[in-house]
Amino acid sequence: MMRFAACATYMALLYGFIFLPVGVLALFSFQDGRFPIPPFQGFSLRWHAEVLGDADLIAALLNSLMVAFASSAMAVTLGFLAARAVATGRLPRAKAISAALTAPLSVSYLVIGLGLLASFNLMGQSLSLATVAVGHIVINTPLCFAICAAAIGPAQQSAERAARDLGASELRVMWLVTAPMILPALLAAFLLSVTFSWDEFIIAFLLSRFDVTLPVEIWSLLRSGLNPKTNAVGSLVFMLSAIAVLGVELATMRRK
């Protein structure tokens, strides 16, 4: 009983800590006044309406979705192909290659962003959403590679061998045997990539110019005046993401 009480107390405290900022954020997004701090002056949907009527924010949201999906698709593709290469057991220097592919994981986003900024400068490449996507592929490919590599096991390999023995071409093997077998891993890698790209700030900040992603737009909103609009954006983004996650969760549960 003591133990149960201790566990319950700890959980309550920690969940309280975890939810505190989100709760405060959401509450004061309904503030009927100019400042998102106590006292709560009454309930208003004014700031939410302002967000939905802000063309720049909506454009940034669409930009973010575009960058997230495009860069994640590319990252999953690159990661999956490389993971399969390693899994064949025929890849020379497989260990070194794996290490090289996962190296970006331990490098700070700020450093990756700065390096790309300097390089694009030298190359004479203008900054745009495409350059942001390039940066996001760099940070997400290692992740996708690691997830796919962990998922490809002996079961896949023997199935692949069987398919090959039956005369299937390499592409068909990959598309019809390996990919479907590790579909959950591919999906997980893709969604994780989308999340990271969706929420990434510093690379997007350094590598974009006029068309910006949502975190960058929120950053400039934050710097253009204190008001509960920032709270409203945060709450709406939260709801959007939560619904997406819930949807995926339900979809995968039904599959089982």
Partner: protein, 286 residues
């Protein structure tokens, strides 16, 4: 014989072709930019633009100016405190979810623990600034309860709280993952052999889950020391952190070479932490 050799050669070429796109991408957009940075860090910013000076002056400036060293020290201290605090907070929660909780609630509990992940990262720091402000929510509550108010906003404490919040969520996830992988019958067997709960934890769970915890801690370290947003929003211009110093070079002086040199210093710190972790994990006695 020669036929198998050619098959093997063909397989190797095929494998290489599969790995090539990812490798090429990593080479062009990760390794190469890194090289560009290393080269750039030896250049100098002058009135006319960037000059290929081939000098260690930027590093010398870092090593000789107390303000820069202080920024590096601030970053290191904040990161260490955050890493330790986050592990200390996340471990018990991950343990409760993985071991104490009935299996059917686990997924829900874990999902709840990471839900705030889904607010935007920038907004999360901002939300903490509202909570900790002098007339913010926290002080509102403390005032209602008749407790002394806390002056946490715009300080290192605020930065640490913001970071700890994020990394507690992250670490709960990673530590949970390594705890559920431990076969439960190991614990049962130890209990059958007369081990108490403390002993089971000390001699079985802790050492077996340690690698996972260490990887999570390293990830925390690497992400925390390189983050600009949290100290910028919550630190209030006090206790400058290394990434802020890097951004100052770009934002105020257009001094890409100095920013590059400071980034290399930042990377060196992360690499040292990585080596330390790798060494520590290799030591069998631990």
């Amino acid at each position: 014989m020669s036929k198998t050799l050619t098959i093997e050669g063909r397989d190797r070429r095929r494998a290489l072709a599969l790995a090539a796109p990812a490798l090429l991408w990593t080479l062009v957009f990760f390794a190469l930019p890194f090289g560009v940075m290393a080269v750039l860090s030896l250049w100098q910013r002058t009135d006319q633009g960037l000059e290929a000076a081939w000098t260690l002056a930027n590093y010398a400036k870092f090593a000789s100016s107390p303000a820069y060293l202080q920024a590096a020290l601030n970053s290191l201290e904040i990161t260490v405190v955050v890493t330790v605090l986050s592990v200390a907070l996340a471990y018990p929660l991950a343990w409760i979810i993985a071991v104490e909780l009935p299996a059917k609630y686990r997924r829900l509990a874990l999902a709840l623990a990471v839900v705030p992940f889904w607010t935007s990262y920038v907004v999360r720091s901002y939300a903490w600034s509202l909570v900790l402000a002098k007339r913010g929510v926290l002080n509102g509550w403390l005032g209602d309860l008749g407790l002394p108010l806390m002056d946490l906003a715009n300080s290192r404490a605020a930065t640490v709280i913001g970071f700890t919040h994020f990394f507690t969520m992250l670490l709960t996830l990673t530590i949970y993952a390594s705890l559920v992988q431990l076969p439960p019958n190991l614990r049962r067997a130890a209990a059958d052999l007369g081990a108490g709960p403390v002993q089971i934890f000390r001699f079985i769970v802790w050492p077996l889950a340690l690698p996972g915890v260490m990887v999570g801690a390293f990830l925390t370290f690497a992400l925390c020391i390189g983050d600009y947003v949290t100290p910028q929003i919550l630190g209030g211009g006090n206790d400058l952190a290394l990434p802020q110093l890097v951004m100052l070079q770009i934002g105020r002086r257009a001094d890409l070479p100095m920013a590059a040199a400071l980034s290399i210093v930042l990377m060196a710190a992360v690499t040292l932490a990585y080596i330390a972790m790798a060494r520590w994990m290799k030591e069998p006695s631990k």
